[in-house]
Amino acid sequence: MSLLIEKPEAGTPATRRRRSSVNIPLTLLAAVLSLTVLIPLYFTIVTALKSSDQLNGNGLALPTSIHLENFSNAWKLTNFPNALLISGIVTVAAVILTILTNSLVAYAIARNMHRPFFKALYYFFIAALFVPFPIIMLPVTKEMAVLGLDNPVGLFLLYTVYGLSFNVFVYTAFIKSIPAELEEASVMDGASTWTTFWKVIFPILTPINATVGILTCLWAWNDFLLPLVILSDPTTRTLPLVQYVFQGQFNTDYTTAFASYLMAMAPLLLIYIFAQRWVISGVMRGSIK
């Protein structure tokens, strides 16, 4: 009797447990594989904390004494605060400008795709995705110098404009899924197309703005080739560019070099640790059609 009553009760948790059961061997495999990512990071951190004579052996040992002067040396040598400021300004400006302008362009295109002009524009931007940067590199460097834009302002302008190709693609796919009734209602109330965009459409775009913002941030912060060719003034070097320029002076001083690398990677790494779920879901959203 009691068995009969217990059966259904016992059955439910059992099936639930089976469904959510964790595969231990696969978890271990994931843990081992994740070491391929974590060991180089660990290595970077411990090397930055060591003195040169502690670098013998396999390099994975913990430092016997902590040498924070590596950081102060790198800080002074590369003028870290300056490079951080330039990288920060370029990245933040590129992200904000990209979100504000690229969404607007994509909106106009998405809502007028049946018109030849806008359709042509759409394919014009997409086609540019296939143009490799090296073909533009030499002419655009000259052009930016002539325009007086061989500086951080020119740099974030280029990120914003070059981003159009990919971002228009991502935004239009999303905007097409927004029912036009929403805007029609707003237009009925007498709102202009501008107001309708900023008040009605832009807020709906928030998730895709996040995706575009994250991708632009990663690009502008870590890019090397564009700053290398565009920035002419040595005092306006970005963080990756500084690592390249000081490579010769780091040469044998590996501990200072690693402290410098770590400082250059740290800001985004720290943000990522706290915003990890948000960053990944943002990137994932960009890949779902």
């Binding site: 362009v105 143009v131 940067f133 030499l138 052009e143 870590n222 070099a257 990677m265 990137v283 994932m284």
Partner: protein
């Protein structure tokens, strides 16, 4: 009488006209961006193509030289070698990245513990600068890997592989794959989440092996994501520059010079502006043709699977 009859017709006409004639605002939204894009992207592209028919050194006077830059490219060993290296590197890395990423994505999508944490860890390489990652691995491959090689008694690993003209490219493949897998994993995970779980339950009842499940359920369902990843990876890798600067700087000798690197060096430092623009045009054609072929081939395979 006529006025009242006209009224509804006018409003109807207006409503019909408004979608067919867009408000000027829509043009104001795109024209400034279009102008900037043309100035900063199209004009440089066309300028570059123009100079590819000249002997321009990047400064001073120039003359038209017809197609001679293009003819010389194909006789230039250094240029041909850079294409050879770039293809070998890009194709090998594309395969390594996609196999690796697919494996990791399936692993992360299975019933493992700490799923989110592992996903977060595997994405880390994607948020780091390619150049700086290159510098870190340059040290590891030059100093630490040889120690492991010596300890294991493996001769080819006992010296820095980056200093070995035959093996340096493998070092670049490895480091690039380490970093590029991160992004591909996320795209594959997005794809795997679109596969309904019931499909596996049905297959599991029929006693299908995991490999069989992968081949007949998982892969056909995410074939579109495979195409995207393959095309994006190959296109990106054909343009490799940063990691090569950091790992080998094109060496030993010129054995690991990529096309992008040759264009940069010849154009900015070698006074070969016109010549390298011809190289860039060939490079553009190569990338477009390869991407289109790849898309056609993969989408045909895709439709065969479905």
């Amino acid at each position: 009488m006529t006025t009242t009859a006209n009224k509804p017709r006018t409003t109807a006409g207006l409503q019909r006209r408004s979608p067919s004639r867009p408000s000027k605002t829509f043009y104001w939204m795109v024209v400034p961006a279009l102008v900037l894009f043309v100035i900063l992207h199209t004009v440089p592209t066309v300028t570059g193509m123009f100079y590819s028919f000249t002997d321009y050194a990047g400064y001073g006077e120039w003359d038209f030289v017809g197609l001679s830059n293009y003819v010389n490219l194909f006789k230039d060993d250094r240029i041909m070698a850079s294409y050879g290296f770039t293809f070998l590197f890009a194709i090998t890395t594309t395969i390594v990245v996609n196999v690796g990423a697919l494996f990791i994505a399936i692993l992360l999508n299975s019933k493992i513990k700490y799923q989110t944490a592992f996903r977060g860890i595997f994405f880390i390489p994607n948020i780091l600068s390619v150049l700086i990652v290159g510098y870190v691995f340059n040290y590891l491959l030059s100093n630490n890997l040889p120690l492991i090689g010596q300890a294991l008694g493996i001769e080819w690993l006992s010296t820095s592989i980056l200093a070995n003209p035959d093996l340096a490219w493998l070092g670049i493949v490895g480091v690039t794959a380490w970093q590029s897998i991160a992004f591909s994993v996320i795209i594959y995970l997005a794809g795997l989440q679109t596969v309904p779980g019931e499909l596996y339950e049905a297959a599991g009842l029929d006693g299908a092996s995991p490999w069989r499940q992968f081949r007949s359920i998982t892969f056909p369902m995410i074939a579109g994501y495979f195409t995207i990843n393959m095309v994006l990876a190959l296109k990106g890798l054909l343009q490799a520059f940063d990691q090569i600067v950091a790992l080998t700087n094109g060496g030993p000798g010129t054995s690991t010079e990529s096309v992008a690197m040759v264009i940069y060096r010849g154009g900015f430092q070698g006074g070969e502006y016109g010549y390298q623009m011809a190289n860039s045009v060939v490079y553009l054609v190569v990338i477009v043709v390869l991407s289109l072929l790849q898309m056609r081939f993969l989408s045909r395979k895709e439709s065969e699977l479905q």
